[in-house]
């Protein structure tokens, strides 16, 4: 479980996050949604420690991550897997080397064991036999899947996903969502997904947090979204004619 308390983040005069409190439960798909510039990615980066919050605390299973020293944070970070918006695969390494990279650094596995683990992760994301390809030879959807394979290679307790559907066609988006959801259930990870894709929200949103102007504006499940009277959330979720029509049928 991850808990954030009163998170504020400013870049100079620009206040991006204004006192966010939230709890992200284990074994659930926790979605952070909101419009562009609402602070979703900044909140995610504060949680994983890529940004230091101006104020507030982040707890991983009760451990205060914000006040930890670099060397103590490493222990938590070994339990974190993250899929970046652009996958962030290492260009100079093959698919297999990308997946084996954290295993090389942080485990005492033999080469065969690491290879076996890499093959398992690739099979899990339906990319068997793509071991020797370089990231430049992969499509956007394949890069995302390799990113997921790398993220799960160390069997993380916490999985963070930044915009998993950006740049993907609807079918591939659904496959990626389903894969993340399956992995969350399978490994019992605390999964935090930043998205503004409404298909993802409706499909896998066990727990949804809506950010607006750097504040938590609404919290609930995907089923509750359809019946909310929160004006900003309605404007965001039901912006398109299709979604408005879908709501009327619910």
């Amino acid at each position: 479980m991850i808990e954030v308390q009163n998170i504020h983040k400013s870049f100079g005069e620009n206040n991006v996050l204004n006192g966010i409190d939230a709890t992200f439960k284990a074994g659930k798909n926790n979605l952070i949604i909101g419009g562009s510039g609402s602070g979703k990615t900044t909140l995610l980066k504060c949680i994983v420690g890529l940004h230091e919050p101006t104020e507030g605390k982040v707890f991983y299973d009760g451990h205060n991550f914000t006040e930890m020293h670099f060397s103590d944070r490493v222990h938590i970070r070994k339990e974190i897997g993250m899929l970046f918006q652009n996958s962030a695969l290492f260009d100079s390494m093959t698919v297999e080397q990308n997946i084996m990279f954290p295993l090389n650094l942080f485990t005492e596995m033999s080469h065969d064991e690491k290879q076996e683990r890499a093959n398992f992760c690739l099979t899990r994301v339906n990319l068997e036999g793509k071991n020797k390809l370089f990231p430049s030879e992969l499509s956007g959807g394949m890069k995302k899947r390799v990113g997921i394979a790398r993220a799960i290679s160390m069997q993380p307790k916490y999985l963070f996903v930044d915009e998993p559907n950006s740049g993907l066609d609807p079918l591939t988006s659904i496959l990626i969502d389903e894969l993340i959801s399956e992995l969350t259930e399978e490994y019992g990870t605390t999964t935090v997904i930043v998205t503004h894709d409404m298909n993802s929200v409706m499909g896998i949103g066990d727990h949804v947090i809506f950010l607006h102007n750097g504040q938590k504006w609404w919290e609930g499940t995907n089923k509750e979204i359809a019946h909310t009277d929160n004006k900003e959330l309605n404007n965001f979720v039901f912006a398109s004619k299709f979604m408005k029509a879908a709501r009327e049928k619910l």
């Binding site: 070994k78 970046f84 652009n86 990279f101 650094l105």
Partner: protein, 232 residues
């Protein structure tokens, strides 16, 4: 900078990265260094011979002047300026691209000491390979001078060889080595810094590479002056 030299997570992974950088910086730069060194040595010999037209000055002096100027200045400094363009821009753009494509963030999330993993192998490779490249440059520069003597009538090769060996002061080798070490550190550390703190996109990566090369060149010339002043 301090974080770059923290204890590595796993020595074997870092060592492989150092070896990869050494090959990239050393072997990758050998061709350009060889070409410029031969030409610089040849031109230095011809121009020195052109200026020493007095019958009172023995022709072997040309060899001595070429040797000293090549070892003290041409090989370390011009090689370093060329390497700043060749290695420095590569380091800054490589690290800068890693930054803007979130590869550095991915390393940090994994718990890797990113300055240590990305920067230190480049600096270690730089302070090792730049001096080796300068040694190659000196030998090829003096060889270029010999070739210039062989194909022109200004100075005989015998006089040139005689000049190279006469009155050799070993301090110039020390000065050359110190300069090469300093230049290797300057190129790699400045360019790595510029790349590491890039933010934005492709435009900023290009700007970081340019800044890295320009700052490196200025610092190389500054360090050249300081080392020469202190050691000579």
């Amino acid at each position: 900078m301090w974080l770059s030299f923290r204890k590595p997570e796993k020595f074997s992974v870092y060592w492989a990265e150092v070896m990869r950088e050494m090959v990239s910086q050393g072997i990758g730069s050998l061709g350009i260094i060889a070409i410029i060194s031969v030409f610089i040595g040849a031109v230095a010999t011809i121009q020195t011979a052109f200026q020493l037209v007095s019958d009172l000055v023995p022709k072997s002096v040309v060899g001595g002047i070429t040797r000293d100027s090549t070892i003290l200045e041409f090989s370390p400094t011009i090689s370093a300026l060329v390497l700043a363009g060749r290695i420095g821009s590569s380091i800054a753009s490589q690290i800068g691209t890693m930054r803007v494509t979130e590869q550095i963030d991915a390393l940090e999330i994994m718990g890797v000491n990113t300055p240590g993993y990305i920067v230190s192998p480049k600096i270690i490779a730089g302070v090792t390979m730049v001096p080796l490249l300068v040694i190659v440059s000196v030998l090829l520069g003096l060889g270029g001078g010999y070739l210039a003597c062989a194909v022109s009538n200004n100075v005989s090769t015998t006089d040139y060889i005689s000049g190279l060996t006469d009155g050799f002061n070993t301090v110039i080798v020390t000065v050359c080595a110190v300069k090469a070490l300093a230049f290797g550190f300057i190129i790699t550390s400045i360019c790595a810094y510029q790349g590491f703190y890039t933010s934005g996109g492709a435009l900023e990566v290009g700007q970081a590479a340019t800044r890295g090369v320009v700052f490196s060149c200025i610092m190389i010339l500054f360090a050249d002056l300081i080392v020469s002043k202190v050691l000579l």
